[in-house]
């Protein structure tokens, strides 16, 4: 009986995903014509957040991007409707606009409330985390030829938070993999690969040891792969993947992974290109919601001193524009950022230079 109900629920959900004929609902929005203004939610965040959000707003203004911002701040009291410091209105705003940009948020220490990131993830049902990692020309790291995208399942897997102590000294933690979530993220991965002209999708797993869980994930990926015959599909065991990534990152194109492996591999890839201060990230939710975010911390020690590096948030806003299909604007801004960094004249402290945030932003605007 229970299995029949579950089956019906799963079928309904599956119907919603595939009813748009493979295209994601974001395309169907009424304001996709470039002349209309798109409203987007902006969470400047804490610490250096407001400064770098200001950079983004400035760059968008100069580039004449048709976006108007609806700013929301993290409150100082716990909102009982969301059980966290994020208010219900903020979440409703993102749900309504379907597009958002988030700066770094520091979760206040204490009990009685959920972490901010967890709240966003659960309430907006953000199921995929996409991080494009490419070597920035002009910023030399040990790896020069990185150009890959990691797509990580964001809702289940090892991070379900279901742990308990069996007896004293023995703890169990449950990893859950469902067909529905795996299909969803695999669908998004192949859709992304097709939309951005990527040739290969690699599924990362440890199915030789975790046969049922990662086996289910792989089965779902294979099913979706059959629907996209023009995209090459391969499966790589995670230990091989780690080794190949550090020896030759050019071997990979798009990576799709369950939650834990995704966390580790996406941070590893961020390390390859220069760290979290330069990595863009975008969270995709059900119903076409996209929330781009900067994954670095809020750096309270340099807050307010005009020293922060806005690159991560700027590149995240570029991926936001790509999600909105404003490709020409996205390309212009991305090229301006890459040119500025490549030139080397204006670099913030973390990249080895001594420019301030405002100088760096101005240099980007000049390059537009």
């Amino acid at each position: 009986m229970a299995s029949r109900i579950v089956k019906r629920v799963l079928q309904n959900r599956a119907g919603n995903i595939f009813s748009a004929g493979g295209a994601f609902p974001s395309i169907q929005r009424s304001f996709s014509s470039s002349s209309d203004l798109i409203t987007a939610t902006l969470f400047p965040g804490d610490g250096i957040g407001p400064e770098i959000a200001e950079s983004v707003k400035q760059v968008f203004r100069i580039a004449e991007v048709p976006i108007q911002w609806e700013e929301h701040f993290v409150g100082t009291e716990v909102d009982p409707r969301t059980q966290s410091f994020l208010t219900w209105e903020s979440l409703e705003s993102v749900r309504r606009n379907k597009i958002g940009l988030k700066g770094p948020m520091a979760t206040p220490i204490g009990k009685g409330h959920r972490s901010l990131n967890l709240t966003l993830r659960k309430e907006l049902n953000l199921y995929a985390n996409v991080r494009p990692c490419y070597s920035l020309p002009g910023y030399k790291t040990r790896y020069d030829d990185v150009d890959l995208v990691t797509i990580r399942e964001n809702t289940e897997g090892e991070y379900s938070g279901l742990e308990h102590q069996v007896v004293r000294g023995v703890v169990e933690s449950i990893k859950i993999i469902t067909r529905q979530a795996s299909l969803r993220v695999a669908e998004y991965a192949f859709h992304y690969a097709k939309a951005h002209g990527r040739e290969r999708v690699s599924a990362i797993h440890k199915a030789n040891i975790m046969q049922k869980t990662d086996g289910l994930f792989l089965k779902c990926c294979r099913e979706v792969a059959e629907k996209y015959p023009e995209i090459k599909y391969e499966e790589v065991v995670i230990d091989n993947c780690c080794m190949m990534l550090v020896k030759n990152p050019a071997l990979f194109d798009v990576l799709v992974m369950p939650n834990l492996y995704g966390d580790i591999i996406s941070d590893l890839c961020a390390g390859l290109i220069g760290g979290l201060g330069l990595t863009p990230s975008c969270n995709i939710g059900e119903g076409g919601v996209a929330l781009a975010e900067a994954v670095h911390g809020s750096a309270p020690d340099i807050a307010g001193k005009n020293k922060a590096n806005p690159t991560a948030l700027l590149l995240s806003s570029v991926s936001m524009l790509r999600h909105l299909e404003l490709h020409d604007k996205a390309d212009r801004i991305q090229n301006a950022i890459l040119d500025t960094i490549a030139e080397g004249k204006y670099r913030t402290a973390d990249l080895g230079g001594s420019s301030s945030t405002s100088d760096f932003t101005k240099a980007i605007c000049d390059h537009l």
């Binding site: 000294g169 703890v171 993999i177 086996g215 230990d239 550090v246 760290g275």
Partner: protein, 364 residues
């Protein structure tokens, strides 16, 4: 005897590669009697590389007798005579055993480890002089808990389409791996032990692991201890690997960290390692990626024997034949330094046999 860390430095400074032993090792009478060691060639490139070890041991006239057994990854259980042999000899050298995907066959590697209770897996990742890599000053030992954690193998399907897998962490296992890690650091003159975890998300499970590590750390005040979250750890490994010394990790993270560390230091084809328990030890290629190899490697006989040769040097030390171990290590390192005979993963095009012949020629 010069510490392990100083040896690569000394070798780089001196043009000749001579074993750096100033005071001799005095054996007990009868220690030179040959020891029997179980040998499992394994699958794929396994027979090639174990064959390489046999040849080199022969050339050195090392007091080791190999008892070879045929064992393949697609067997359902480890054959009882193999188990018996390992229990008798207490030391085993093994090539890679393939673990088939899906299919319900449990990994033979895991079976061996569980049955013999080999709870610590050790990989030594270090820069080999003469081998160009993107990172320098790497000298990391990854000690990984081998029996529980995510590899407990307890999975079941709740309803169709929903699968659960249990990750089990116990205080007993966490404590003994932490004890092994600190004891290793103490015995090998290592300065720092880093625990790798994800306790901000898996608060109870990895929290228990960390608690055990902290307790053991307090008993070794001379060794520095710190903790790092696994995703940050991987990021630091690819940007600043020189900050790590000994790393102790639960099962899954250990797999990833060991392979990453091996990759940055030169590849899994050169890093030695093994699994050890209270009574038995199995030596094999350190990190698990590529230990079975691809079919082209097997056909063209171009597998890299360096990892297994260095692991057999570790084995010789474990058996208390340090002079043979030093000779073997010196020969292998001078072949790598020279650079003429290197297999494909190190940037050359030699076959396994050519590398073996070069090593034998360099044995003094």
């Amino acid at each position: 005897m010069a510490s392990r860390r100083a040896q690569p430095l000394l070798r780089r400074l001196s043009a000749q590669l001579t074993p750096t032993r100033s005071v001799t090792y005095m054996p007990r009478p009868g220690d030179g009697a040959p020891r029997t060691v179980t040998l499992i060639p394994g699958d794929g490139i396994g027979p090639l590389v174990t064959g390489a070890v046999e040849q080199v041991m022969d050339a050195m006239h090392a007091p080791v007798i190999f008892e070879k057994f045929d064992c393949h990854g697609d067997m359902k259980v480890v054959p009882p005579q193999v188990m018996e042999s390992i229990k008798r000899n207490k030391v085993c050298l093994k090539g890679g055993l393939m673990t088939p995907m899906g299919g319900g066959v449990s990994s033979l590697n895991l079976q061996l480890r569980k049955e013999l209770d080999l709870y610590a897996s050790l990989v030594n990742c270090f820069n080999l002089p003469g081998l160009p890599t993107r990172h320098d000053n790497v000298d990391i030992v990854v000690i990984r808990e081998n029996t529980e954690g995510e590899y407990a193998g307890l999975e079941h399907e709740v309803v169709p389409g929903v699968v659960e897998s249990l990750k089990v962490i116990t205080k007993f296992c966490s404590e003994r791996i932490a004890k092994y890690a600190f004891e290793y650091a103490y015995l090998n003159n290592r300065r720092m032990v880093t625990a790798v975890h994800k306790a901000n998300i898996m608060k109870l499970a990895d929290g228990l692991f960390l608690e055990s590590c902290r307790e053991v750390a307090s008993k070794y005040p001379g060794i520095k201890y710190n903790e790092i979250i696994v995703d940050n750890c991987c990021m630091q490994l690819v940007s600043k690997p020189e900050q790590f010394d000994v790393m102790v990790t639960p099962n899954l993270y250990g797999n990833l960290v060991a392979n990453t560390a091996a990759g940055i230091a030169g590849g899994t084809g050169v890093m030695p390692g093994g699994n050890v328990g209270a009574d038995h030890a199995i030596f094999e290629q350190g990190a698990s990626a590529g230990n079975v190899g691809k079919t082209e490697l097997v056909e063209q006989k171009k597998a890299n024997p360096v990892a297994l040769l260095l692991s057999s040097a570790m084995m010789l030390r474990h058996l208390q034949f340090p002079s043979f171990a030093d000779r073997l290590e010196t020969a292998v390192e001078s072949v790598i330094l020279e650079g003429k005979y290197r297999t494909k993963d190190l940037g050359g095009s030699s076959t396994t046999q050519e590398v073996v012949d070069a090593v034998i020629a360099k044995l003094d």
